[in-house]
């Protein structure tokens, strides 16, 4: 990153530096994709967990809740071992690519989304149970109806997952390799610049990262407000 040497982050934003925007863009692509992927798996799973009764259900809930605290670097290491050419999924050839980063982050945040979804849906089910049972709503229709009605609470769940993924560096560093111009994202850039002693730049980039995360949250909140007013 010779271009970044000696320049402050603000100067970079101001001048519309292409490399910086590429890094921000990649960060958003990876984390947003991971959030969507994790939601696609975690939300139905959480909803089903909320609605089903089976032996060992409580143990599974404890496990999912506990998995919210999975250390990113451990997730990164496990995914690395899976995707390495010498590993079981080596044929895919996606180690050290953005795809691997998306997968690792999705695995990291799926428990958060599942656990919070379970709680939201369980609370909602207490309110909706009689009404939906009387209307003969079962199975997938029931799960989807509850998820849709819970959508405003679930947006917060998504933001929680997004935030966790956007902030982590361990997983993307190990499975992405921090390759310049290819798998380098904001958090790994900050780590790199810090290790090079470029502290002012690292802090500047940190502020950019926080601003980006806040912007995503603000957009989501605005979308929620709009939806509430128009769709109810």
């Amino acid at each position: 990153m010779a271009v970044l040497d000696g320049m402050t982050a603000l100067e970079l934003i101001w001048s519309g530096d292409a490399r910086l925007f590429q890094i921000v863009g990649l960060s958003l692509l990876v984390t947003l994709s991971a959030t969507v992927l994790a939601a696609g798996v975690g939300m139905p799973f959480g909803a089903l967990l909320a609605l089903s009764r089976f032996p060992g259900r409580h143990a599974l809930i404890v496990l999912v809740n506990g998995a919210m605290g999975l250390p990113p670097v451990v997730v990164g290491l496990v995914v690395f071992l899976l995707l390495s050419r010498s590993g079981p999924l080596g044929e895919l050839g996606i180690l050290f690519t953005p795809q691997a980063m998306i997968i690792a982050q999705a695995i990291l945040i799926a428990p958060i989304i599942a656990a919070l979804t379970r709680q939201v849906i369980e609370d909602l089910w207490a309110e909706y149970r009689d009404e939906l049972t009387a209307m003969d709503v079962t199975g997938a229709r029931r799960v989807l109806a509850l998820l849709w009605d819970a959508r405003f609470s679930l947006i917060t769940t998504l933001l929680a997952g997004f935030g966790r993924a956007a902030a982590e560096v361990g997983a993307v560093m190990i499975v992405g390799g921090n390759i310049d111009g290819f798998t380098r994202v904001m958090t790994t850039t900050i780590a790199l610049e810090t290790s090079k002693g470029n502290l002012p730049l690292a802090i500047g980039l940190g502020l950019v990262l926080i601003a980006v995360i806040l912007a995503v949250n603000a957009l989501a909140w605005a979308a929620r407000g709009w939806s509430e007013r128009h769709v109810g």
Binding site: V36, S84, T97, I102, G177, I179, S195
Partner: protein, 276 residues
Amino acid sequence: MGLRLRQLIVLLLFSQLAPALPAAAEEKAIVVASTTSTQDSGLFNFILPMFKAKTGIDVRVIAQGTGQALDTGRRGDADVVFVHAKPQEEKFVADGFGVKRFAVMYNDFVLIGPKSDPAKIKGGNDVVAALQAISKTEAPFVSRGDKSGTHAAELALWKQANLDPANTKPAWYREIGQGMGAALNTAGAMGAYVLSDRGTWISFKNKGDLAIVVEGDRRLFNQYGVILVNPAKHPNVKKDLGQAFIDWLVSGEGQEAIRAYKIDGQQLFFPNAGEG
């Protein structure tokens, strides 16, 4: 809006995850496992665009410690390894993981220390004597402790000084298990001595009151080698593209590019293909 739009979005994003395998096979790109010190020196940012302009090949550098870089090569996750630890490189080839080792360039290590210089070694050109003085005065010393090439060089120098702090673990010897930049940061914060490669030192932005205390000793020279990962062990290795990179590095053009790289007007790497 509901279901259909959401399904479409999910589908679009899933398509991003489709294994890149077919594309990767045609993509003109290779993965090179190298070291953090080489990456941090800025050499790659200088020479790789030249290589790309000439051949159209994208070089993706993963910067790790030497130990990890060689391991990446062993696993077949890189096409080429480019590190600076000759004994480990030769073993890599001997064990069948690499095809052939080519010498590329050398740079040197420097001993860095605080302004206060508790071991009183500043200005010397005998690194072994300096290390003995550090041990005798029990001045703090930061070691990378991460199986990197720099770490290996450091351990070799302690051995030449007839000392073994990595195993006796005295209190003044601090192993941090991280890269060169982190080691320099730590040494600066602790007022400790540390062995660094010159390239990282020159580009390091947080020097504080650290400075070079010993340099120029022949024992501080650091040889780089490049090796193609053995396609017999890992058929996925892009051997033609990888070999093209190696050929360029040792060619007149590549060697000249290495020579031309300077920081603050100083040349960092000395090309010596065919020699080391």
